[in-house]
């Protein structure tokens, strides 16, 4: 009955909003004045540049898309977990190892939550991290090359969803499991889930200079669903908070069976304590298997290493490190305000937001005010840790971000709106509709100690009539709101690629100056690179043929190759000799069972071709590189397997 009331009030609120919108037409044309003002706010004139970068996860595209704010212009798609024929990522010999896992080559993933590296809780723009939800992985992307540099697989995890969030000095990137599983995996009846499955929370350390990832330890938590997480910051630095649902530990018809408990938990984890415990030899070494893939900017190549061991930590063995904070109705978003005082759990089946107080939590722990335990983990009393409740009037709260003026902004999926409220007083200050069914929202720096509270982007799950129809499948819609004033103003609406779950924004001035323009040819350490055209050659090793090829506007060296035979494996190792910004060359061979390559200045990439037919077969540059681009082509003569045509390679003869 209570729920029903909220629904009615939500309806009434939207009705009010609709009427007030309609009334504005009568207010002496203020509507059009407002509209033109908003147009100016998002208009980035030709030749001008945006104020912020927005990195949006691609969801099922597996990648990250880079947009400008406020214009909403798409700048780039960065391939992370998915093969990407545009650049040859995951197709080239150098990048295939990036997608290696303990399950073999997995050419796709579901990318969810990007997070930018921080120093002292402020965005530093060195790297962006993102999680693969399906085959649990964490990736690190360089923000000077905008290329994926590292992917680490997570064993014992499944549905890598409460990831990839970083601690305030980029000590750890943290990844929690959404689907608890048997650990170690074994053949057992599904309905024996309860009490037997585990939820692993992985803490991956980050080397401060190189960014290199290392799976430091995994906490083996009770078999709940660890949904989202955020680190403590400022006073709560050293803690990490995870929302949970399915504390019922149901294993079927979850939408009903895991929605029965009135309260689930936010798990508060003192990671500093556990890291110390592990450092001092605590934890259990467990045999397992997971891939660690690293791309080197200088060799332009990735290597994949299979790791065999992980340290697991039983949380009950580290007293004082883990506590449960009861939080109503299957909380989804788990967000921490810039001061680190408030931990916000959004019960997605509720109308209210629950805000826990870090200070109260510490007091309750010190006073040992426990309300029982779950699998040996103390449960704090809800009333003892509660800081306040936001009575929002909306339905289905999901995620919260923060501005730099003490306000919070929460999305409501069911009532399709963003609600602005005040930290500390919990009063609702404003609400704006979204179109439609908003998931995450993003304020640049809005999950750090220093938000840049000028815009909020709402990322919606449903598009319907927002754009020209494109058949049954449409891109998702995003709305941009100006939040610099007291009231939020909807100023723009733009489609986004894939399904952006979360996004991370950063002022352009922090990134643009250090964006790389070229790779230095004299820094190229690729074993098959040719640093001057006279080193170009073709070498046969049995059935393998290695073509050491260079490109510069507008020819390949060599461009005529003879002596290739049916059944050979021909590796084209192509080095782009340009040292000029934005002059890539491409490479594609007729009938090749892989994608083209796009090779950046100073870079070497390798394409495999297994010729199946006798003949003379052309290859060409796929990037319109110059006025003579159309002439940038060559031929390979393929002879029968038993022929004795000598191996030759020429240019301009």
């Amino acid at each position: 009955m209570k729920k029903y009331n909220y629904f009615i009030s939500a309806l009434m609120v939207s009705a009010l909003l609709l009427t007030s919108c309609g009334n504005q037409n009568g207010n002496g044309g203020s509507n059009s004045a407002l509209a033109s003002n908003n147009a100016e706010k998002v208009y980035v004139a030709p030749g001008e540049q945006d104020e912020f970068y927005a990195f949006m996860s691609g969801g099922y595209s597996g990648n990250i898309t880079v947009y400008g704010l406020p214009s909403g212009r798409l700048f780039k798609e960065i391939p992370v977990f998915s093969q990407f024929p545009t650049s040859g990522y995951g197709y080239s010999e150098e990048t295939k190892p990036m997608l290696n896992t303990s399950f073999g080559f997995v050419p796709w993933d579901d990318a969810h939550h990007p997070d930018i590296s921080q120093t002292n809780g402020e965005l530093d723009g060195r790297w962006i991290f993102i999680n693969g939800n399906n085959t649990p992985r964490i990736a690190r992307v360089s923000l000077s090359t905008f290329e994926t540099e590292e992917i680490i697989e997570l064993p014992n995890s499944a549905g890598n969803h409460s990831s990839s969030f970083i601690t305030e000095n980029t000590e750890y990137v943290v990844a929690g499991t959404r689907f608890s599983v048997p650990v170690p995996q074994r053949d057992m009846p599904i309905n024996e889930y309860k009490g037997n499955f585990k939820g692993a929370l992985s803490f991956i350390s980050i080397a401060p200079d190189t960014g290199r990832l290392n799976l430091d330890f995994q906490m083996m938590m009770p078999g709940f669903n660890y949904d989202l997480s955020h680190p403590g910051r400022g006073k709560s630095h050293g803690w990490f908070f995870f929302t949970t649902y399915n504390t019922e530990e149901a294993n079927s018809l979850m939408e009903v069976n895991s929605s029965q408990n009135d309260k689930d938990f936010i798990a508060a984890v003192n990671w500093k304590m556990i890291a110390e415990y592990v450092k001092n030899g605590g934890g259990t070494k467990m045999a397992t298997e997971y891939a660690h893939n690293v791309y080197d900017e200088h060799t332009h190549s990735a290597t994949s290493t299979m790791k065999k061991e992980v340290i697991t930590v039983d949380p009950t063995k580290v007293p004082g490190a883990v506590f449960f904070l009861p939080t109503p109705k299957s909380p989804h978003g788990c967000d921490v305000d810039p001061s680190g005082q408030y931990i916000i759990g959004n019960g997605k089946l509720s109308a209210d937001l629950t805000i826990h107080s870090f200070d109260k939590m510490i007091a309750a722990i010190e006073g040992k005010k426990f309300d029982g335990e779950a699998y040996g983990i103390p449960i704090l009393k809800f009333e003892d840790v509660l800081a306040g409740t936001v009575k929002s009037g909306g339905l289905g709260p999901l995620h919260t971000e923060f501005d730099d003026k003490g306000n919070a902004y929460t999305t409501f999926f069911i009532s399709s709106e963003v609600v602005k409220w005040k930290l500390g007083t919990w009063e609702v200050l404003d609400r704006q509709p979204t179109f439609y069914s908003v998931g995450h929202l993003m304020i640049p720096g809005g999950n750090s100690r220093k938000p840049f509270g000028k815009y909020v982007v709402a990322m919606n799950k449903i598009t319907k009539d927002r754009y020209l129809p494109t058949g049954p499948e449409m891109e998702h819609s995003a709305q941009l709101y100006d939040i610099s004033g007291d009231k939020m103003e909807l100023i723009y609406d733009f489609p986004t690629h894939g399904e952006p779950h979360y996004a991370a924004g950063i002022p352009a001035e922090l990134l643009a100056p250090k964006s790389k323009k070229i790779y230095r040819l004299d820094d190229n350490k690729h074993p098959f690179a040719v640093t001057s055209p006279d080193q170009a050659k073709v070498v046969r090793e049995g059935k393998e043929v290695h073509v050491y090829m260079s490109t510069i506007r507008s020819h390949f060296t060599p461009d005529n190759i003879e002596g290739i035979k049916v059944g050979d494996k021909v590796y084209f190792h192509i080095t782009n000799h340009e040292q000029d910004f934005d002059v890539p060359h491409g490479f594609a061979m007729i009938g090749q069972n892989t994608s083209e390559l796009l090779i950046m200045p100073g870079q070497t990439k390798t394409s495999l071709w297994e010729p199946k037919k006798v003949g003379v077969w052309p290859f060409y540059c796929t990037d319109f590189c110059s006025a003579l681009h159309q002439e940038m082509q060559g031929y390979v003569r393929v002879s029968p397997a038993d022929s004795d045509v000598p191996l030759t390679y020429t240019l301009g003869e």
Binding site: I518, I552, R553, E578, Q579, D580, F581, A627, L628
Partner: protein, 214 residues
């Protein structure tokens, strides 16, 4: 005369700037080069305004059949100019010192200035001749062979001074810091001469007499 001589000692020293700063700068901007390519011409060689500009200018020039920009060892000028400048600095300072010591008259100051001016004009003439050759002596197998409206083959000589439109490029050629240092230095020597002349008594004999009586 002492003040004039000090100026005459300082003036030529400004030419030392030519060893550190470019004499001339040519910038090439185009729609697809919003950050223009550029070359800085030093007395001992040509360098890119940015690290890879020379390679990129050569890369573009190959379409129209221009030769690659010369390396220092490919032009005698880049070996000779530093020596000539060195000699002129030494000579100028020496004249200044001798003037200070009262051994020679201010007329020598003008002499140095005139000699330096002649060398400068010769240098400019030589530079221009190289640019004419570089811009017109093209590869007969060039990828793009363009003609002027009157049918004559298009040449690509950059302007010696100022701006010119060449195909899609806006080319601006201007003296750079080294030339300005040289200009200031030469002005100082001219000023040295002027002051020397103004302060001098009516005739050289009276000047000698004055010093002799001191």
């Amino acid at each position: 005369m002492k003040r004039a001589s000090i100026l005459m000692i300082i003036g030529p020293l400004f030419l030392l700037g030519l060893y550190f700063f470019p004499l001339w700068n040519i910038m090439l901007g185009a729609p697809q080069y919003p950050e223009p390519l550029g070359m800085d011409i030093y007395i001992d060689g040509i360098k890119g305004a940015n690290e890879f500009d020379i390679q990129n200018i050569d890369g573009l020039n190959h379409y129209i059949g221009m030769r690659k920009l010369p390396k220092p060892e490919e032009m005698w000028e880049f070996g000779t100019f530093p020596i000539v400048i060195g000699i002129m600095v030494g000579l100028g300072v020496l004249i200044g010192i001798l003037g200070f010591a009262g051994k020679i008259s201010y007329i020598w100051f003008l002499g140095w200035f005139v000699l330096m001016s002649i060398l400068g004009v010769m240098g400019m003439y030589d530079f221009n001749a190289w640019m004419v050759d570089y811009g017109t002596n093209l590869d007969p197998n060039a990828i793009m062979k363009l003609a002027n409206p009157d049918g004559t083959p298009m040449s690509y000589k950059p302007p010696l001074f100022g701006h010119a439109k060449m195909l899609n490029f806006d080319v601006t050629s201007l003296p750079a810091a080294g030339a300005w240092a040289m200009f200031i230095g030469m002005c100082l020597t001219l000023a040295a001469f002027y002051i020397g002349w103004k302060k001098a008594p009516k005739s050289d004999t009276s000047l000698t007499k004055k010093y002799a009586t001191q």
